[in-house]
């Protein structure tokens, strides 16, 4: 069994007194591509914010290996958060900085590397996502797909232990979405990074996921866990089957995954 990277115990998430999800229990293992799936409004992105340490849970705990994220002081928490790389839904690049500066910023903040080294690393990360030649461009000057890849390059800047993706394929055409999936797979293969992906894009989650949870908005908790392909074959929960088969009944619904 691979070692556990993140463990969530009895997590309840809420905005004020409106409960989004309750009693979540799951483990994310090292080197997995872990998919958080569910319909719109079931709390996928909220869960991501809890895992990232951006929002404190109403009840329950989030453990990073041996440490409880919400029982340590703020400085230690920031240290842990720094080991995470995040690709936000729309890239979330800083619009007043060029692509190279976007990637250089975390390096300048958290390392004492020389200017040349930072420049070299920024170039390398952009090359990883296929954006060489765009170093001096501003985010508003490149396309949405390129912004996402640049967001990935920035997430990779500090060589993170865990990479989080919020809806990586949202707003991308199928070919670009596939390219981004391939990129995620090859980065995972070469770096061994643990990857957490929030998505409801079926082709993508079947293609890359090695483990997954499904959040249900009606019962407000997770109703299935396992590799997406196994869930498709074995899980009998009607809600999950409907989700995985795009609302068609599993018998006549041929999934093109």
């Amino acid at each position: 069994m691979k070692p556990v990277q993140i463990e969530v115990k009895n997590l309840t998430m809420a905005y004020d007194d409106f409960i989004i999800q309750q009693n979540l229990n799951f483990k994310i293992h090292q080197g997995d591509i872990f998919i958080v799936m569910g319909g719109n409004g079931c709390g996928k992105s909220t869960l991501l914010r809890h895992l990232l340490g951006l929002k404190s849970p109403m009840a329950g705990e989030v453990w990073y290996q041996q440490t409880n994220l919400w029982q340590m002081n703020e400085r230690d928490r920031h240290k842990i958060m720094r080991r995470n790389g995040v690709m936000y839904q729309s890239g979330a690049l800083w619009s007043s900085l060029t692509l190279a500066e976007n990637i250089a910023l975390p390096l300048q903040e958290y390392t004492d590397l020389s200017h040349d080294e930072i420049k070299g690393l920024a170039y390398l990360k952009l090359a990883l996502v296929g954006l060489v030649g765009f170093e001096e461009y501003y985010p508003s000057e490149i396309s949405g797909g390129m912004q996402k890849r640049a967001g990935l390059a920035r997430a990779l800047a500090l060589d993170p232990d865990i990479l989080f993706f919020d809806e990586p394929s949202a707003g991308l055409d199928p070919v670009s979405a596939k390219l981004l999936d391939d990129l995620i797979l090859s980065i995972q293969a070469s770096l061994g990074t643990t990857i957490v992906v929030v998505t409801h894009d079926l082709p993508s989650l079947f293609a890359i996921g090695t483990d997954a949870i499904f959040l249900d908005s009606s019962s407000k908790t997770l109703i299935a866990q396992g590799a997406p392909n196994d869930l498709l074959k074995e899980c009998n929960n009607p809600i999950l089957q409907q989700f995985l088969n795009r609302g068609e009944s599993p018998k006549n619904g041929m999934m093109s995954a």
């Binding site: 007043s96 070299g120 690393l121 090359a127 060489v132 030649g133 508003s140 990779l156 060589d159 070469s190």
Partner: protein
Amino acid sequence: MKSCTVEFLANNNSIIVAGDWVMGNVTPRFVDIKSSLASSLSGELQIQTSSLESWDSRFVLFVYELQTYCQENDINFNLSGLPSSAQGLLKQVSAFPVRESGNKQLPAKSFMAGIGEKTQHMLQQSALVLNFVGEVCFSLSRLVRGKASFRKQDLWLMIQDCGPNALGIVTLISVLVGLILAFVGAMQLKIFGAQIYVANLVGLGMVREMGAMMTAIIMAGRTGAAYASQLGSMQVNEEIDALKTLGISPIDFLVLPRLIALVIMLPLLCIYADFLGILGGLLVSVTLLDISLMEYVVQTKSALQLGDFATGLIKSSVFGVLVAISGCMSGMQSGRSSSSVGDAATSAVVAGIVSIVIADASLTVIYQIIGL
């Protein structure tokens, strides 16, 4: 943590890397070994990593630079000694075609070309201003004919925002301006024993000039900037495009209510500021200059005529138009990124204040000529 090392063995064409290549450790740079490579390397290069402990991106960068160097100098670079994950990363780096056009480069400009470009830019900018003012005029004519459509409750919200909600700051500033005028005047007038004329100074100063000017500048910083950033972020969110595709003129729908609200409310704020300024002067006079309350009031009454108020009010309606136009124009012409919204707000305030001061000077001269 072991220190990391690079050793180049010229006799068997191999480069040996060892140690911990991670953050917090000083790693050798490629440039350091470039000279020794250049002098004695030819044909083939192997990399040996048997005593490499751990590594991160900087190691990959080092190998990547080495690889690029080898490609440029026709050296066969053998990667097989690398950890397989590092090989995978290097493959990923070179998987994408390098873009031919390269980075955009700004050519060096001559001095004259710079002047030319600035001039052209200014001309374009003035054309944009005229264009916008023209559109607003058309929109106003539609309003007069009853064809312009905007939501009435929007107008009320705008009026509330640039009227009652601004009273606090206008109060503070105008009382202080009245105080300052009275202080400065009192110092001089005391020399002649003519303290009572502080009332004339403060009254005329506030009513003809400072009331209109100060409220306009407050509103340029407060409301003009708010207009620019509201409209700018609507531009970023494509909300303005959504209005256009529905056939709704964004000028009618967004600019008109803002313009009307400011033109109505600024003169009212100006009158309010006039009286509070006079009150400020009165405070100083009564407490420091031994002028009684009635004396001050009577003197002020005799100094001011209704025409003086009219000059201030005309000024402040003109300023209202200027503040609204510069705010809305910066917002409507903002770019589509979050930083351009900030630029729009800045330029709204700058353009607002500059145009207020210029208009004030011109109006004062015009009043002189026509004898108001």
